[in-house]
Symmetry: C2
Subunit: 201 residues, 2 copies
DNA sequence: GCATTTCCGTAGTGAGCGCTATAGAATGCG
DNA sequence: CGCATTCTATAGCGCTCACTACGGAAATGC
């Protein structure tokens, strides 16, 4: 009942996702967001609540779509170590995909923020640390040695690769880094979605 | 001639350094800076120019002081590989030192910024990429294989460790990551400033 | 047609941003 | 001393921030 919404909510959410991904939480002003979403501020606030709520919805959508490659890779491979190798390899491709901004939204979009937005930065940090714990448990259940250290090592690589991508590293360069950081136990040619002929050095 | 300055310029610069280090360029407002520096805005602008000029001076001071450990380690060790191992080990300690904010200022203080401050973010990225090139040349001159990939790999580790430190990782955890990432060719006990008994896992 | 409900564009809220005009205070020089 | 010079503090500049009051437009239910 009443006048229906005049824009596609999911499309607007995706536009907001790209804006937050590229500029981060603080630098993505409401004016920038509404410009990218093709709506006006009142429509944004009616549909999503406020800027923080929109960001939280964006993060959830990111985790369910663009950011799902890591968990998928872990689930596909029989061993945790192999899953991490595959995940880092896919991260190299994902972080440099021209279809969206570079790097990882969860890693880079809120490293610093203004005093009244510290909670969103804390939430992203909690997500990262929770993922670290999940990774550690997966390694431990596989009987791997030093699961906590190896989980944190994988997280370190991933976060470093994200910033490297933002600094201009190419997909091939990141794939070489991933291969050096976590050598795969199986032949790379057997992987899915692999770019052949990784240049090293 | 004239009234002398009523505050210590270097002390104020150090206070600004800590503020930028902790909050990043954007979130470190002039009000926050002047509060930490113990001066008023006109004094800041008379002594340092504007916010960007102050930040550039802070970055230079950081590189000459807190951020000098990496180049120092490279210069101390006879081989590039050994120097990187030592540098990463020292980074683990530096990034978690309670005497200052966590992580690396050059890495974390300007990953995102508002539209009229993109130049300072670009400058920091240029510094990072220049350091990467220096590292690559050092590896190449030492006859190491795949110097570009190994240099980028070291940079990836360093950037990842910086964010890990900001996410709450302890010094021991980061040292374990560093040891896993770049195993030292010499016994760790021979190093300087090393914490004994690194816990792995 | 009509009343009702919801959405949308204009315009503007108070607050904080980087930055500065202005006036007073503190020094060195004669 | 008076004077010139430089620093400091108050106060406020124009601007953008996240956010919203308001009136008109567009849809539904009767």
């Amino acid at each position: 009942m009443g006048r229906p919404r005049g824009f596609d909510r999911e499309a607007a959410l995706d536009a907001a996702l790209m804006t937050f991904w590229e500029h981060g939480f603080d630098a993505a002003s409401v004016a920038r967001l509404t410009g990218a979403m093709g709506i006006t501020p009142p429509s944004l606030y009616a549909a999503f609540g406020d800027k923080k709520a929109l960001f939280r919805e964006v993060v959830a959508r990111y985790q369910a779509t663009w950011g799902a490659y890591f968990g998928d890779a872990l689930a596909e491979e029989p061993t945790a170590s192999g899953g991490i190798a595959l995940a880092l390899h896919r991260a190299a491709a994902a972080f440099t995909d021209d279809a969206h901004p570079r790097g990882c939204l969860v890693i880079s979009s809120a490293v610093h923020c203004t005093p009244d937005a510290t909670d969103v930065a804390d939430e992203l940090r909690d997500i990262r640390n929770a993922n670290l714990l999940l990774l550690e448990e997966r390694l431990r259940s596989d009987g791997e040695p030093a699961p906590a250290t190896r989980a944190r090592y994988a997280g370190t690589i991933l976060q470093g690769m994200s910033q490297q991508a933002r600094d201009g590293a190419t997909r091939a360069e990141l794939e070489a880094v991933a291969a050096l950081a976590w050598p795969p136990p199986v032949a790379p040619a057997l992987r899915t979605g692999t770019a052949s002929g990784v240049a090293a050095g």
